[in-house]
Symmetry: C2
Subunit: 710 residues, 2 copies
């Protein structure tokens, strides 16, 4: 067993992250400088295996740039972040820093990248990398530094650049593993495990489950990406997990059972991928003369049947369905929480261990190793060897905040399409190697990743909805559930409270919230009413309200300036609505001017900001009494903003001349409603604010009138 020990020399591949909260500023500065240099060195050493232009400039897979891009990319990252944070003033090479800025890591498998790039020469990039190295070293030596290192400090940004490079150390190694061997140079720096043999029989081992609290606090001593912070409490039911990662040997049974030909074992998305990619076997299996061989980073070796299989998530899930069918058990991939139950068997973490309790952090080999080599309690390979796919799409924890220096790191992945991988692999270093890290990739993506299966009755993760970016829906989510601006209190809440006061001690059986938009007033009315119908003409609004009702939260993007913005979450819990039975509400798309007969017998109808958005306000007002119980209330609020876009001018209730006389809307309401209603209290003005950007708002004063049905 070759052990590359991180303490022996600067030139070792493995490493330790600096702790954020220990030591003196000057010792920490030196530590960060060393960590930066060691990372830079390891990254350079990885690219030393590229032996020809072909290796640098060909695309290992169609969805990603050639390696020349990644070689420059991690260096430009430092410059671009430092410029963006206004910590340095001058660029080193504007062309390179523009060209190498953005990767194409997250495309779907059937996207095409047909851009033509005029990549620089390798030598030019090597020179560029040296300049960046010098600049960053100088920057580290001079930057302000306090202990603990804080989220928004310059040192954090440097650590971010380092961890970013460590991510690409691993992902670039995957790309290299996908290049032809002929263009690679096995220089001995990246040694392969030489222990192979037959696969061990896998067994399912019971775990108790229990209450887990996921997520870390903002004063955690280890550097983290923004998605790691916050908290989520999970109840994990007892389950069983496979003792070993699935080995090549174990996976062969699936393949031999016709796994790659049997659609029913695949998800729809997985089968579509397998068909498109013409997948017939795991990515790194090589068929030679009727024998299976195995591709490592720089070699092809005889199939190591007792090593873990590398698969994407689709293949892993197909294996599980096959396994379920074969065993009659509910075999699936673990959830994120189930993996953390397993992780409880290990009581240390990367920066603290003397020697890794798994094949991780480049501490042993530059390849996988047998699945029974590293035992952790009743299991092997709880960390390291290959990553373990979970069935959990990544989502934010409660309390998630976007990191201002890297605001598009996590949020684009909260879309149900990126599943978490856990545990790290042989080349996972730095943050990649720690317990709390949360990386997620598209399910068709290849890392050095395989899987462990569980027997579990845990139901599938709810669909994660991506950030709502529809401008109007987002605007209204912020209006209903977001911040208060200019000291103006929440409008739908205030309206609902007015409705509640109005009801006094009368029965509150049924309420109708017409023009409910994204639903806040419906949620508020459900505090008191046994049934609330929330109706809006816009299906987009209704679907946002329904999502909030179902999941208790919804995410949205709210613009700050130009195309920039903030990622926010609307949460019923934060609104104090977590104790309200929101199932009292039925959200439906509908037309206030043409309601279905079933919407009737209401004790209260609230029509907030509705009448001046109707095509036929007179039709609505002329018929609404039919829906209200005698003595029930109609509450109208509106700024009377009549616009031809919504209502033809000849249908405007007021704000017009009638027979030459000015007719305001309030007068028109009195006239129209007097037949079936009496006005029960003087009108009140209720202001509201809708945010358009961080600096621009609509500030409006609605007129609220209250009517009792005769």
């Amino acid at each position: 067993m070759t052990v590359l020990n991180f303490v022996t020399a600067d030139k070792t591949l493995s490493s330790r992250m600096p702790l954020l909260n220990t030591g003196t500023p000057e010792s920490k500065r030196q530590e960060i400088l060393n960590y930066f240099c060691q990372t830079y060195d390891v990254y350079d050493r990885l690219f030393e295996v590229l032996d020809s232009d072909e290796a640098w400039y060909m695309k290992a897979i169609s969805l990603r740039h050639p390696l020349i891009f990644y070689y420059g990319h991690t260096a430009t990252f430092f410059v671009n972040k430092l410029i963006a944070a206004r910590l340095i003033e001058n660029r080193i090479d504007p062309d390179i820093e523009a060209m190498m800025a953005i990767g194409v890591d997250e495309m779907s498998w059937d996207d095409l990248d047909d851009k033509n790039y005029d990549w620089p020469a390798v030598e030019a990039l090597q020179a560029y990398r040296q300049k960046v190295r010098a600049m960053v070293c100088e920057f580290i030596r001079g930057m302000p530094l306090e202990i603990p290192v804080q989220w928004d400090s310059a040192a954090w940004l440097i650590l971010m650049g380092i961890e970013h490079e460590r991510i690409h150390l691993e992902t670039s190694s995957v790309l290299i593993r996908q290049l032809p061997l002929s263009c690679l140079n096995n220089n001995g720096s990246w040694p392969v495990c030489n222990e192979t043999g037959a696969a061990p029989e896998n067994t399912l081992v019971a775990l108790n489950g229990g209450k887990l609290k996921l997520g870390k606090s903002y004063d955690d001593p280890l550097y983290g990406w923004d998605n790691e912070y916050g908290s989520q409490e999970v109840d994990v039911a007892p389950f069983k997990a496979s003792e070993y990662l699935v080995s090549n040997g174990e996976f062969l049974a699936f393949l031999n059972a016709g796994g790659y030909d049997t659609e029913r074992w695949w998800t729809d998305e997985g089968w579509a991928w397998a068909t498109f990619a013409k997948a017939r076997h795991p990515e790194f299996w090589v068929r030679k003369e009727d024998c299976w061989h195995y591709r490592t980073l720089l070699e092809e070796i005889d199939m190591p049947w007792n090593w873990p299989v590398d698969t994407n998530c689709h293949e892993a899930q197909a294996f599980c369905r096959w396994k379920s069918e074969v065993t009659g058990k509910s075999i699936q991939l673990p959830t994120e929480a189930e993996w953390y139950c397993l992780r409880g068997q290990i009581d240390t973490d990367l920066p603290y261990w003397e020697q890794a309790p798994g094949n991780i952090n480049l501490e042993y080999w530059s390849s996988a190793c047998p699945v029974d080599q590293f035992r952790n309690g009743n299991f092997c390979d709880i960390i390291g060897n290959v990553w373990q796919w979970t069935r959990t799409p990544i989502d934010a924890y409660e309390g998630f905040r976007v990191h201002p220096y890297y605001d598009d790191f996590s949020t684009p992945t909260f879309d149900s399409k990126h599943n978490l991988i856990k545990g790290g692999c042989w080349i996972s270093t730095g943050n990649y190697g720690i317990k709390d890290s949360r990386y997620a990739f598209r399910r068709h993506f290849f890392q050095h990743a395989g899987f462990r299966y569980v027997e579990s009755t845990a139901s599938d993760q709810e669909t994660i909805n991506p950030y709502e970016t529809d401008t109007l829906v987002s605007q209204y989510l912020e209006f209903h559930f977001g911040q208060e601006y200019f000291g103006v209190s929440n409008y739908p809440k205030r309206c609902a409270e007015l409705c509640h006061r109005l009801m006094g001690s009368r029965p509150m059986t049924r309420a109708l919230d017409l023009g409910c938009s994204v639903g806040r007033s419906s949620f508020e009315l459900a505090r008191w009413f046994q049934h609330v119908d929330g109706i809006d003409f816009s299906a987009r609004f209704i679907s946002a309200a329904a999502e909030l009702q179902k999941n208790g939260k919804i995410r949205y993007f709210t613009p700050t300036e130009g195309e920039l913005g903030e990622f926010k979450v609307a949460s019923l819990k934060v609104m104090g609505l977590d104790t309200t039975d929101v199932n009292r509400i039925l959200f439906t798309q509908g037309d206030a001017c043409n309601l279905k007969p079933k919407y009737c017998d209401y004790d209260l109808v609230f029509a907030g900001n509705l009448i001046d958005r109707l095509t036929e306000p007179l039709v609505f007002l002329g018929n609404i009494h039919e829906r209200i119980r005698p003595g029930g209330f109609l509450v109208l609020t509106s700024p009377y903003t009549w616009l031809e876009d919504y209502t033809h001018k000849d249908k405007w209730l007021g704000g017009i001349r009638e027979n030459g006389e000015a007719l305001d809307t309030y007068s028109a309401l009195k006239r129209v409603l007097s037949l079936h209603f009496e006005e029960v209290q003087p009108p009140v003005d209720i202001p509201f604010v809708i945010r358009e950007t961080a600096r621009k708002y609509q500030h409006t004063v609605a007129h609220c009138t209250v009517w009792r049905c005769r």
Copy 2:
């Protein structure tokens, strides 16, 4: 001389207006009731002369409805106003009240009215008028009434309806005077003066002029239309006025001199009218067998050469130009103020006199009379006989407020196209007959109106600008010069004050206000800077600013709800800018991205809310230092609202991702400006509010940055 004395019977034609501030409520109620009935009776009696369907349904002139309309119109006015004011609930006849609501009095002379109206039968309208009479009488008997009668009281609205009918009593008499005699019935109710003779020689009589204060206060004891209130101080230079109104005899000399054939004596507008109308002589002159006859209300008589000529304003002005040419003097129509100098010769007013000191209020005849019949001091006919055209287009006095019950009575005439007529005529009763009344008609219009001329050096009245109704210009006028909303202080003023503080004791020679919009910050900067260039890309904005600079005020219409709104005036005086030399400002249309070379050497450039509205913000920022003296300041304010409508996205300064990194506009400004500027103080936030309607506002927070040119 037949005298129809108003006190003798209800059936007399003349009348007195009730005073607003005397008596008990119950005596006033009775007085108003009598005044209403007497007005209704007189109006009915006028229409009794119509002797055939032709008289009722033919259009006396193409620009006005037939008399059937006016017969119903004054009655519907009561109903429509009472409904609009929510003082009554039910209509009497919705069809009539819609059809008879709006007259066509104010069209240009070449407009065509080709609508087809399905007018009701006379009998139907008579019955309708009786129903309205009964309703109004009942209303008067029951309405709340306090002394004094206030502007917004129910009694005021009744007086408004009465005075409105009295207006139409006179204007309908003009239409009847334009109908063929064959369809009229001279029933003896409308007697003609029988004194005629040769015209007296007219002479010019000197008046001292002096300081006059025009306009009445809101506690004046006589009912007034909104345009009468407020105040205006005028210095009238000494002038001479003709002793008599211009008689038919005096006017004949103009006609015989080729007056109707000689373009140079006419204004352009007057000549265009004369040509279009094929005018050859005064409207009520009739050529018969080579003799001039004269049309009265119901007769044709031999030409009364010593009676006043009836003309429109164009003919009167043409006469004056001819007279000037003939006499070598500056002969013109009097101004409104000059007429009030004349009016000073009479020390009574309609409700107070025992007997009228002129041929007015139907107290003598239903026709004109000789111009030397009624002497008032050194002049005759200062009031009565025929109206006297002035050369003053009607305009609001300082402090003018629109009456809420009749918000389109005055404001549409503040357009330079409506000239004031003064003094009243033989049929002018009620408000038409009082000293403070201010009626104005289009210059081509015929009333029973003629003129008196003056020899005066007073320069012409400035052009009156109509209310600015361009939505955006009005919005910005309110933003710059209107009310403050939500407690947010005036933005361009606050920005200018910031600029002033910045200058400290440095010389303030030249300032540039780029994107000055309607000019407030330029006006404010002119308090301190010797020269201010105000430049905006919008010619409409610049022309509003220039009008304000020239006239000290500008009117605009600001929407409240739908198509309804308020008429407002922006005034430099109200802004405390009347002591500022606004001629220091040069307002010019221009493009901030392509300024002419002459715009240079500034001590200060203020670009308020500009940069995010430029097509090429980078071009502007890259060159602006060339315009600023070394050490001079650049002050930028902006909410950074980048929109593709104004700036292509690839030209946005910030609010974008650059090399994948978020670039906010402030950071971009620092980068762009650092070459030629240094930032001299921390940025500040300055909020502003733009009103869209009475209930809807844009509430924005601009970012203000301050830069010193190296």
